[in-house]
């Protein structure tokens, strides 16, 4: 094994590399979507793929999300492994009927005869100053649909590993790519981009003793920052990055909460009917006797995603997380 300098790379570069490696490894992998070919995607994630693999394997489709996903269903029926791009979170909604009525349940409808190995890449979330319909966090819709896997990376290495795993999966996987982390850099060895993470495992990003921050995607760096800041308050916070929302890793999450006795769920998506409610319920059901305080949620407000000039008030930030952590001193208050 040669030693290669570990260089900083962006999440977008790691995703491109994952697509390129998957296409090189398996001729059945086809990338398709609006602008993914000549332009290389509006975020350049598919940059160079059409040139390298030809337009039949990296295809600029007509502008129609239901059509993109619907034709991908037929392609998957015929043995291909389509990877579709939805360009922006809220642009995926026209494709929801195909997603929910067919993609998610074709295996079930046909009693296992017709699995659909489709990967659906959805750039999601706010914090990039996007105008209306460019910053939604739609993970609750995907999570509520049986038959879909839902993953969301927070690091450059996971972006590679999870996308490779999604493409290799025989089931449909929604890969939620946090837009505002596209340009975040990590030290990453492009010569050894593995390991490809099996879908469904959370990871402890930062060990701690006083409370657990349960989070994913774009909120992971915010929680890491909050954990650093909390040290000044005498709090030693553990940060769990879920990475996979479906399947949900009860084991890692509950092991952490049992150690710390306190938990806050942090995400950008709205609170009511959002992922945090499900996570809080699961943690409470499994760790009730270990809990020193109720599981709290720090989430986006239950409003349509606000205009860019107001989004900083909406997105869960360090202060709001620290405030919740402060409220975890339940015993002292009661």
């Amino acid at each position: 094994m040669t030693t290669v300098a570990v260089k900083p790379a962006t999440m977008a570069q790691a995703l491109t590399r994952a697509l390129r490696d998957a296409m090189a490894a398996d001729p059945a992998v086809h990338v398709m979507g609006e602008d993914v070919g000549t332009l290389g995607g509006v975020f350049r994630v598919t940059d160079g793929l059409a040139k390298e693999f030809g337009e039949d394997r990296c295809t600029d489709t007509p502008l129609a999300e239901a059509g993109i996903l619907g034709t991908a269903v037929g392609m998957a029926m015929y043995g291909l492994r389509p990877v579709v791009e939805m360009q922006f979170d809220a642009f995926a909604y026209p494709a929801f009927e195909q997603l929910i009525s067919h993609v998610a349940r074709m295996r079930n409808r046909t009693r296992g005869k017709m699995p659909l190995p489709i990967t659906i890449r959805v750039p999601y979330g706010g914090g990039i100053g996007g105008v209306e319909h460019h910053s939604d966090s739609s993970e609750a819709y995907y999570m509520a649909t049986p038959g879909l896997h839902v993953v969301t990376p927070a690091t450059v290495a996971d972006a590679y590993g999870l996308l490779r795993a999604a493409i290799a999966s025989d089931d449909p996987v929604v890969v939620l790519e946090p837009k505002r982390l596209y340009w975040s850099k990590d030290s990453w060895n492009p010569e050894e981009p593995a390991p490809v993470e099996p879908i469904g495992r959370a990871v402890v990003r930062r060990p701690g003793r006083s409370a657990t921050l349960i989070t994913y995607g774009p909120s992971v760096p915010v929680c890491m920052e909050a954990a650093e800041a909390a040290r000044a308050e005498g709090w030693d916070l553990e940060v769990v990055d879920l990475r996979s929302l479906v399947p949900f890793d009860d084991e890692t999450v509950c092991a952490s909460v049992r150690r710390t006795g306190r938990a806050v769920v942090v995400h950008e998506s709205g609170s009511f009917g959002g992922p945090g409610g499900e996570i809080a319920a699961r943690v409470t059901e499994r760790c009730f006797h270990h809990l020193e305080a109720p599981v709290l949620r720090v989430a986006g407000f239950d409003v349509p995603y606000p205009p860019p000039m107001l989004e900083r008030h909406h997105l869960p930030g360090v202060d709001r997380i620290l405030d919740a952590v402060g409220r975890l001193q339940w015993e002292a208050e009661s």
Binding site: M75, M77, L80, P94, Q98, H102, R107, N108, K113, D171
Partner: protein, 383 residues
């Protein structure tokens, strides 16, 4: 220089020349639906094909009647009949090669059976047993599709994928007149046209989307005219003329197979029965209209042609009838048996591997079933 002088000096650049992308005329459907039976074209039709079509129509009519009867006996949860539309159903299955694919809507059980799928398996969805009873790969028939027109982009994707792989495969996708209003109809036709995918879109215009008549569904001159907007051929055919439907669909399949791209075929037909057994058709149409269409019945049309030309006699008619009765009796016998369902199958095919969450729920159901086996459902005091 004044502003006016400046304006006076302005020389507009002519816009870049515009050229239409193609001549729309060859794409336009004929003014009248294409007909064979009762015309000179019938003389050129293959007698053997006509006799086969006849036998299939008689069988199809009997199948519709039997399935409708099974709903009355509670053996089928619902059955959307294609009585009066048998020519479309049968021809759609007959024009395909073994390697081709059929994409049916929920109303097209008869086409699925005509394609070779076991009649009991084809009715699994409508029985409420499971969602799809047959293996889609065995006869290359996609699952019956309940959402409207969503199977059309699947057909396009499959045909496109086959062509990318170098396979000589055509997909025929069926949809009703109501389905042509859906967005997926538009997206499928557009994708197919842009990709020149080997697909045939087959609209059975049976007059009504449940109760809504065509006039309230579309303002287009005909549904076949919609093809022109996508840059593909539109064809109009008498959907009760089995020979004509067979010929038009065959031609569309040949065209697709030869690399000519998709065709939109509209068959003008009529749903003689109600939408399903749950529908009261008398609320939205009169008996006189239905009677007019009964006169133009697909079996009657073909029978008249065949007997008139000495290609079918009483014995032949009786033989077809007997054949249909045998099929109906076998269907009755199978449908009268209770399906054996395993509740644990609920969890088997959600994912390739059940998630931890599903494994927990599976254990819960297993425990419930074991408790039920001990005490019986009556012993469950929580009901």
């Amino acid at each position: 220089m004044t502003v006016m002088e400046q304006r006076g000096a302005y020389r507009p650049t002519p816009p870049p020349a515009w050229q239409p992308r193609m001549d729309p005329a060859p794409l336009l459907p004929d003014a009248e639906p294409y007909r064979v039976l009762g015309t000179e074209a019938a003389a050129k039709a293959d007698p053997e094909l006509l006799r086969t079509l006849y036998a299939q129509l008689v069988k199809g009519r009997r199948y519709n009647a039997q399935a409708t009867a099974l709903t009355k006996q509670g053996r089928l949860a619902v059955y959307p009949s294609t009585t009066g539309q048998e020519a479309c159903e049968v021809a759609a299955a007959m024009v395909l090669q073994e390697r081709d694919w059929l994409f049916p809507s929920y109303r097209d059980t008869l086409a699925v059976v005509a394609r070779g799928v076991d009649p009991v398996e084809a009715l699994t969805l409508l029985r409420g047993d499971w969602h799809t009873g047959y293996d889609p790969y065995e006869h290359r028939v996609a699952p019956l599709c309940t959402p409207l027109a969503t199977q059309l982009p699947h057909a396009v994707g499959l045909a496109h994928a086959a062509r990318l792989k170098g396979d000589d495969v055509v997909a025929l996708a069926m949809v009703g007149d109501g389905g042509t209003s859906e967005g997926d109809f538009h997206e499928a036709l557009n994708f197919a046209a842009v990709w020149q995918a080997p697909v045939v879109f087959f609209v059975q215009n049976n007059g009504f989307a449940i109760s809504v008549p065509l006039a309230k569904q579309t303002a287009a001159p005909s549904l076949a005219h919609k093809a022109v907007g996508y840059g593909i051929r539109g064809r109009l055919v008498d959907g009760n003329d089995a020979a004509a439907v067979h010929e038009v669909l065959s031609d569309a399949v040949r065209h697709a197979r030869a690399g000519g791209g998709p065709t939109l075929v509209e068959a003008i037909t009529y749903r003689v029965d109600a939408h399903t057994n749950a529908d009261d058709a008398t609320r939205y149409r009169g008996d006189a209209e239905v009677e007019t269409w009964r006169e133009h019945d697909p079996i009657r049309l073909l029978e008249r042609e065949l007997t008139g030309r000495g290609l079918l006699d009483e014995a032949g008619i009786e033989a077809a009838r007997q054949d249909a009765e045998t099929m109906a009796a076998a269907l009755r016998e199978h449908m009268n048996q209770d399906p054996a369902l395993d509740p644990m199958d609920l969890f088997t095919h959600v994912y390739a591997e059940p998630t931890g969450q599903l494994r927990e729920q599976r254990d819960q159901l297993r425990a419930e079933l074991e408790a039920e086996a001990c005490t019986g459902p009556e012993g469950d005091t929580h009901r």
